[in-house]
């Protein structure tokens, strides 16, 4: 990896380090609260969910949209890199920033399902699908940030993806093949789980590959 690429990825971590660590701590705190009772569980889960979604949006908006709006993009593009390099650096850097928090918070949430006696282990497949969905949600917002230059359409994407989380939770949670086993004492890894997971992974792959095929090949990056 080129020195400049490494430095710019490190710059993303430097820039977003405080928000990544704050969100991780808040999310872990929310999960700790979730172990304290039924109401605390609901509130804790909601806070955990909100922090993960908000982190993804903040990282993309500050890392890409604001950089363009505040005209730091011109500075970045004056460095010895191509427009394609810029897209690849942003994709990697912001994915690493979000991925670190997502990994810790997803692992902690799934550990809660497994270790907390009050939470049925049957929730584990749904929990995994939800966590992977949140990663897919971020990947879509990131993909949009790398392609959309206008603020209006970008805001629309953020609103739509936020709504998408709720829709996902209700529709997937209401799917009989998943819902019927959710409150069981053991996780059930049926085809509904694997198909849903495969779709999520395909969305992630598409959202991460698309910028390499489209945004990175743009001739104008300003």
């Amino acid at each position: 990896m080129k020195v400049l690429t490494r430095k710019l990825i490190a710059k993303e971590l430097h820039q977003h380090g405080w928000i990544v660590s704050t969100v991780t701590l808040v999310g872990l705190g929310a999960l700790a609260m979730a172990t304290q009772g039924k109401m605390q569980f609901n509130i804790g889960l909601l806070v955990w969910l909100s922090t993960v979604i908000a982190l993804g949006v903040i990282i993309v908006l500050t890392g890409i949209t604001n950089e363009r709006k505040e005209r730091s993009l011109l500075y970045v593009l004056s460095l010895p890199l191509s427009g394609g390099d810029y897209v690849r650096i942003k994709l990697t850097g912001l994915l690493v920033c979000f991925g670190l928090a997502w990994l810790v918070l997803s692992a902690a949430a799934l550990a809660l399902v497994v270790l907390d006696a009050d939470v049925p282990d049957g929730m584990l497949p749904y929990g995994i699908l939800l966590c992977v969905y949140l990663l897919a949600n971020f990947a879509v917002v990131l993909c949009a940030g790398l392609h959309i230059r206008a603020e209006g359409p970008m805001t629309a994407v953020v609103v739509a993806t936020n709504m998408g989380v709720t829709i996902f939770m209700f529709t997937v949670g209401a799917t009989p093949a998943l819902h019927d086993h959710m409150f069981g004492s053991a996780p059930v890894w049926n085809s509904a789980f694997w198909v849903t997971l495969a779709i999520e992974l395909a969305v992630i792959a598409a959202a991460l590959i698309l910028p390499l095929l489209v945004a990175a090949r743009r001739r104008d990056h300003l």
Binding site: V3, L4, K7, K11, H14, Q15, E70, R71, S72, L74, Y75, L77, S78, L79, P80, L81, S82, G83, D85, R219, D220, H221, L222
Partner: protein, 296 residues
């Protein structure tokens, strides 16, 4: 063998919704300071962005330090310092962070010169970019660029919005850079006084078209305003290469871009005054003449 031109644009065209750059060709030789002068919206920034590989032309050829653009911009930009009035550093970071960042990327970073410039520009390493005034921000950009000692400096309106003292400080630094005659500068501005002070070659651009490009001295030598007093009943003379003619009663003011003793002789008798023109006057006359010639 000819030295590689630092910038070469050949027949560059670029169309936007409400503006287009038409058949633009220009060369920047090593050691040259070219002032790119044009009114607001003339296409100076677009030309510079194309020359830097940040915007791809619809047609034409662009070479930067011998590298074809936009394909090889990453290699070419290693030796180019680009600063624009519209450019902003990372607001969350300090000047020191940017200095360390720049030093880690460019082998030519001169820490001693950077420290000297920091002092001269009255900047401090620990200053956050967010806290900088626009003048300080431009100085910080210049510090980061000059301390790399690039072979080519591309400056897009670097003195716009600066107070006279800050402008003087920056222009003096440009002159210092040019003491090394292998380096060159492309400098865009609508401030003709700045351009006149530092440039040795000047290119006028207007409404996306190149109006004129030649050595500064040539501009200053070729352009004159000549006042004539006409005898009663005589008509104003129409010598060749007339750019403008203003009649005020018996007095006529002629403007030419081909002044010489022969031209003056062709005007005939009655010459009362021959005035040299400032670059600003030449620029304005040139732009209006070009627009008139194009029927705009």
């Amino acid at each position: 063998m000819n030295a590689t031109k630092h910038i070469e644009l050949r027949g560059v065209r670029k169309a936007f919704k409400f503006f287009s750059l038409e058949e633009l060709s220009l060369d920047l030789e090593p050691g040259q300071i070219m002032g790119l002068v044009g009114p607001n919206g003339a296409g100076k920034s677009t030309t510079i962005r194309i020359a830097m590989g940040l915007v791809a032309p619809d047609a034409g050829e662009v070479r930067l330090l011998g590298h074809s653009l936009p394909e090889h911009q990453a290699v070419a930009k290693r030796d180019v310092g680009f600063v624009s009035e519209e450019m902003k550093l990372f607001p969350h970071a300090s000047i020191g962070w940017h200095m360390d960042f720049t030093a880690s990327i460019y082998a030519g970073w001169d820490a001693e010169y950077a420290a000297k410039l920091t002092k001269r520009f009255n900047l401090r390493r620990e200053q956050s970019v967010k806290s900088l005034s626009s003048g300080e921000h431009m100085k910080a950009l210049m510090l980061l660029t000059l301390a790399r000692r690039p072979r080519l400096l591309v400056l897009d309106e670097p003195t716009t919005g600066l107070d006279p003292v800050a402008r003087h400080e920056l222009l003096s630094e440009f002159m210092d850079v040019l003491r090394d005659d292998s380096r060159s500068i492309l400098f865009s501005s609508h401030n003709t006084a700045d351009v006149e002070r530092v440039s040795d070659r000047i290119t006028f651009i207007d409404r996306g078209r190149l109006v004129d490009s030649r050595d500064k001295e040539e501009f200053l030598e070729r352009w004159r305003r000549v006042q004539i007093q006409l005898p009663v009943g005589a008509t104003a003379p129409q010598p060749a290469h007339l750019v403008g003619s203003v009649v005020d009663g018996q007095f006529v003011t002629l403007t030419t871009d081909h002044f010489s003793d022969e031209w003056l002789a062709s005007v005939g008798a009655g010459v009362r005054d021959v005035q040299r023109m400032s670059l600003e006057e030449i620029f304005v006359a040139s732009v209006f003449h070009h627009r008139e010639a194009r029927g705009e």
